[in-house]
Symmetry: D2
Subunit: 257 residues, 4 copies
Amino acid sequence: MTDDTLKIAGREYTSRLIIGTGKYKSYAQNAEAARAAGAEMVTVALRRVNLSNPDEDRLQDHVSPDKYTYLPNTAGCFTADDAVRTLRLAREAGGWDLVKLEVLSDQKTLYPDMEETLSAAKALIADGFQVMVYCSDDPVYAKKLEDVGCCAIMPLGSLIGSGLGIQNPLNIRLIVENARVPVIVDAGVGTASDAAIAMELGCDGVLMNTAIAEAKDPVRMARAMKHAVLAGREAYLAGRMGRKRYADPSSPLAGLI
Amino acid sequence: MTDDTLKIAGREYTSRLIIGTGKYKSYAQNAEAARAAGAEMVTVALRRVNLSNPDEDRLQDHVSPDKYTYLPNTAGCFTADDAVRTLRLAREAGGWDLVKLEVLSDQKTLYPDMEETLSAAKALIADGFQVMVYCSDDPVYAKKLEDVGCCAIMPLGSLIGSGLGIQNPLNIRLIVENARVPVIVDAGVGTASDAAIAMELGCDGVLMNTAIAEAKDPVRMARAMKHAVLAGREAYLAGRMGRKRYADPSSPLAGLI
Amino acid sequence: MTDDTLKIAGREYTSRLIIGTGKYKSYAQNAEAARAAGAEMVTVALRRVNLSNPDEDRLQDHVSPDKYTYLPNTAGCFTADDAVRTLRLAREAGGWDLVKLEVLSDQKTLYPDMEETLSAAKALIADGFQVMVYCSDDPVYAKKLEDVGCCAIMPLGSLIGSGLGIQNPLNIRLIVENARVPVIVDAGVGTASDAAIAMELGCDGVLMNTAIAEAKDPVRMARAMKHAVLAGREAYLAGRMGRKRYADPSSPLAGLI
Amino acid sequence: MTDDTLKIAGREYTSRLIIGTGKYKSYAQNAEAARAAGAEMVTVALRRVNLSNPDEDRLQDHVSPDKYTYLPNTAGCFTADDAVRTLRLAREAGGWDLVKLEVLSDQKTLYPDMEETLSAAKALIADGFQVMVYCSDDPVYAKKLEDVGCCAIMPLGSLIGSGLGIQNPLNIRLIVENARVPVIVDAGVGTASDAAIAMELGCDGVLMNTAIAEAKDPVRMARAMKHAVLAGREAYLAGRMGRKRYADPSSPLAGLI
């Protein structure tokens, strides 16, 4: 398994589990969860996380950017312009080139606006960013995003924060079959089996926040997710048995006793 | 996690994954899969596995009874009498008290005959056996089997060897809620997420054979299953987030940039 | 469609929808629902429905036994003895030979106790009853019940009054494939599509109570269910298209314009 | 039910089932299916159906435009320009203003290209067409299409011709909740219960072709679908019972016998 790494924008990761930095009780708990998850990348909502005010607890004091790749995201942006502006500011402030783009449509669903998302992706890529992109599970748009140069496609499993799991495995599978860049399910995972299912569909990774942060015991759930992603990945690589409609005895009858 | 052990018939196990000894290419491969799975117990079809003929490869030469608890089973028995007789012979030959009872109904479904199963369970328990029992997912019969003294309830997820996963999670959940002895899903698991789901429902363990033995790479699938059982167990103990119908942003809006 | 009738115990029915007589606001509403459903048979909980006290509203004053086959049932009986006694009293009082047997296990699940159910079925059949039998979805027990002479097998879709639909379509399908007497899904239907699914699996009929009685508009839901049973039956007889993983254009390309 | 009509572009329909005109053995069979379905609108692939060559069988000789609203569609168009051109030609030839727009992405999935679809919709509406639009199940794009003036939103249930049913009921439900124009599930229905489910989600209608045309008995399946759409519609209007996790006896215990 040592050589089964995830390559994004020229870097290699052993872990296929990306976690968030929102909704935790504290950055300290967040850090503990990141360790338990074995994560190597964390996504950071630029508008919500304290990175700069030294009078308050700062993320980087707990989750070190030396140990974790920071993936700044545009949570809370509802237009392409807003998302592009946010990431340009972030690059000036923190030097981040690798970013997660999300352009949302409305507060009720937090679904991505794919038209605005594609437009923002083009602008950012023209501007030299490496763009991982949060998107719907529409295989056609996933391909468009890859074609304009996104370095990872991040389709939703279901609504952000819903914990409903992967609503349309067929679409996720179609996206995986067509993609030559990593596909990472982002949003919708609620528990360990959801993450395993994403990986069994052939995804390259899973990103989650609420499933860990809002579990009764977030650190334990982080550990569960680490195992779940490994389980799903290994099962995908191992090649599952076929499904049969009728029973099949576990071995040919031999009759020894 | 160190103190989260599975107790069956007075013994403690760290692993919650029991694997079979049928359908493998060789006992050597079987042994390698057992190691990869981290299993501590293997089930042995008395009628199918070579334990006694020294001229042929024997299971115990590869999967040592010193390292693995052997759980003899009655696969291939279609009446209570046949199952009871088989296990009595086994006890004489191998000294096994802890057994897995299965009394099947027909070759097409290999579903358990619950009437015969209950009758055999009573006879075996009266005879001093510790009986782990393969059963349908009927919560009423699961309770009857516990009431007559079975030491573990092993409801099917779906048909033996079908790989269809857990067909009726509601019934498995009802069985778990009512049981005071371990509940171990037996039959039906096809891939890693199926095992995780079983554990997330609160089961105490999972038994599988075909899912590992008939994967394209059985040893890798065994490793997947080890992680899957851990993932599901930890997720169950961690307490999953609630499901929501609408989206929920990953953190309260704060607006830092 | 005119010759597609349901034959039970020597009688023919055009309708394949059996409805209950509990939980309605009044017997008048019950009667209206029966008409809207196009039902020809209604099941009557002997312990709950008023048939004899002339000082209160009686079922037969609204749902005439001349127009509807009354199918007395043993709802509320938790042992074989109790069920047998109840039906003997009913036969003395009302002359009913065709009965629906249910022997329940506990108040929480209302699942049938299959051991007691089989025992009661044998006693009733020996006593000259025509027994339609409420049972679990265990194909093995369904066969036993047919073998002792039950004239219809009535497996549950899910828990009584739960509205959860058919939890295990595979089992229902196996029961249908093995049966030479009518199979009628009883319990669990929540809305129209659930009833259609039951019929598409090849069942001969559906029995429901709560889905109609507890709909916001019971009479309208009764009409929905009439259509649903017809829809599912016709779809089953018509033979559905195959499922395909990839798209298939609706017609060969021809290019006329 | 008489006043429960479907209004599209100023016209009222009693039937909520729209059927196709492809894949049938003959236009005569197509006509018979339309009658059995009780359809009042049929969709016509302009590029595939013979409307003009009098030397061959023509659709209108069997399915009369006097009795059925013809809904010309752009099946086979893969760009906005192509779709717009096709419909302009059709209007010149046949005077059709009410059209079904579909702009597909690729032959493998036949998924709509939403970017091109939106662009074509704008052009057609500016040009005076009444546009019913085939689209993905993305609620954000569904809203955009309504906002530019489409008179009906037609999200896919699953891939065209796949018979896989509604893959993502949650999205269909979100589209329905947000729409002020009719929502009609188009593509994916395989059997009767699929159509009932679409209607139970609150859709205003269902369009299907393969499910009927490729059934073993297309006319019988058409009749099944008529009932299925009525069943689902009535169930939606009736208001289904709540789902319960535990059993609920069909009536309060009374004890009359």
